[in-house]
Amino acid sequence: MAGKIRIRAQLDGDTCEVKALMRHPMETGLRKDQAGEPIPANYIEEVTVTHNDKVVVHGYWGAAVSANPFLGVRFAGGQAGDKVTVSWRDNTGETGEGETTIR
C-alpha cells in the first residue's frame, strides 16, 4: 500500500513551512479484530523531509502517531520553486513518497 502523500510547502518570510498528510493505517499491533485475533502492527517507522535533495528533518516514529499521519515542519533557506519531498518507510518495508515545489 505504497501511499501518496499530500504536501504543501509555503514560504513565510525566510522560513518555509511544509505540511504533509500521509495515508497509512498506523496499526499498533495491540488491537484485536472482532474474532479476537491480534491485528499485526503496521506503522510508519521513518519519515524524511528533504529540500532540494538535502535532508532537513528526519524522524523515527513509534506506533503512537495517529492513523493517516500529519506532519508539519519548518526550515530556513527555501526559495519559491525549490523541490520539497516527504517520504516514509513502514515496519513492513513499504514506502511512500510525495513531492512538491515551494510556493
Binding site: A2, T15, K19, T28, L30, R31, K32, E45, E46, T48, T50, K54, V55, V56, V57, H58, G59, Y60, W61, G62, A63, A64, V65, S66, A67, P69, F70, L71, G72, V73, R74, F75, A76, G77, S87, R89, G93, T95, E97
Partner: protein, 158 residues
C-alpha cells in the same frame, strides 16, 4: 503450430522493471545514516525507563513551547505542536514526543538538521488522560515541557 509467449515475456519484463523502480525509491531513506533509531527508548514501557534509555532525565525549560489540547474528545487523534525559543535553547538537534501512559511512551523522535527550525506539528494517539512531554536535546543535554491532556475516548482500539 507453436505460439510465441509474447504476453508472458512482456509481463516478466514489466515485473523486473517494477522491482528496479521499487529499489530506487527505497534508497533515499537509507542514505540518512547519521542517526540510528533508539530502539531501547521506543521499547521502554514507562516514562522513567524511556528517559533512562535516552541517557538523562530532562530538566524543565521555558524555552520549549508545547501546544496540546487540554481536553481531547478523541484520543486517537490529538494534535500537538512543539516550538523552541532559540534564544533560550540554542542549537536543538532533536525533538522527542512522549505520552506518559501509553503502552510505549515514546511516540516520535525528530532530528532537526542545522538550518531547519526546531518545530514539529503532528498528531498522536493518547490512551488515557495523562501528561504529554515535549523533549528537546542540544549539546548541553535534554530539556522538557509537559502538559496534561484529558482524554474522553481512548486512543487504542475503540
Amino acid at each position: 503450430m507453436k505460439v510465441e509467449p509474447v504476453g508472458g515475456m512482456a509481463r516478466r519484463k514489466f515485473l523486473r522493471v517494477g522491482a528496479l523502480i521499487a529499489t530506487a525509491v527505497a534508497l533515499p531513506a537509507k542514505l540518512w545514516a547519521a542517526v540510528t533509531k533508539p530502539d531501547a527508548a521506543f521499547a521502554a514501557t514507562d516514562l522513567n525507563a524511556t528517559f533512562a534509555a535516552l541517557g538523562q532525565t530532562p530538566t524543565e525549560s521555558a524555552g520549549i513551547i508545547f501546544t496540546t489540547p487540554d481536553i481531547a474528545e478523541n484520543g486517537a487523534v490529538v494534535p500537538i505542536k512543539i516550538e523552541v525559543d532559540e534564544s533560550v535553547l540554542p542549537g536543538v538537534s532533536r525533538l522527542y514526543v512522549m505520552v506518559e501512559k501509553n503502552p510505549n511512551p515514546m511516540a516520535a523522535m525528530f532530528s532537526v538538521v542545522e538550518g531547519s527550525k526546531p518545530y514539529i506539528e503532528t498528531r498522536v494517539k493518547v490512551a488515557q488522560t495523562c501528561n504529554l512531554y515535549a523533549v528537546a536535546e542540544n549539546k548541553e543535554g535534554f530539556f522538557m515541557a509537559s502538559k496534561e491532556t484529558k482524554v474522553t475516548l481512548g486512543g487504542c482500539g475503540g
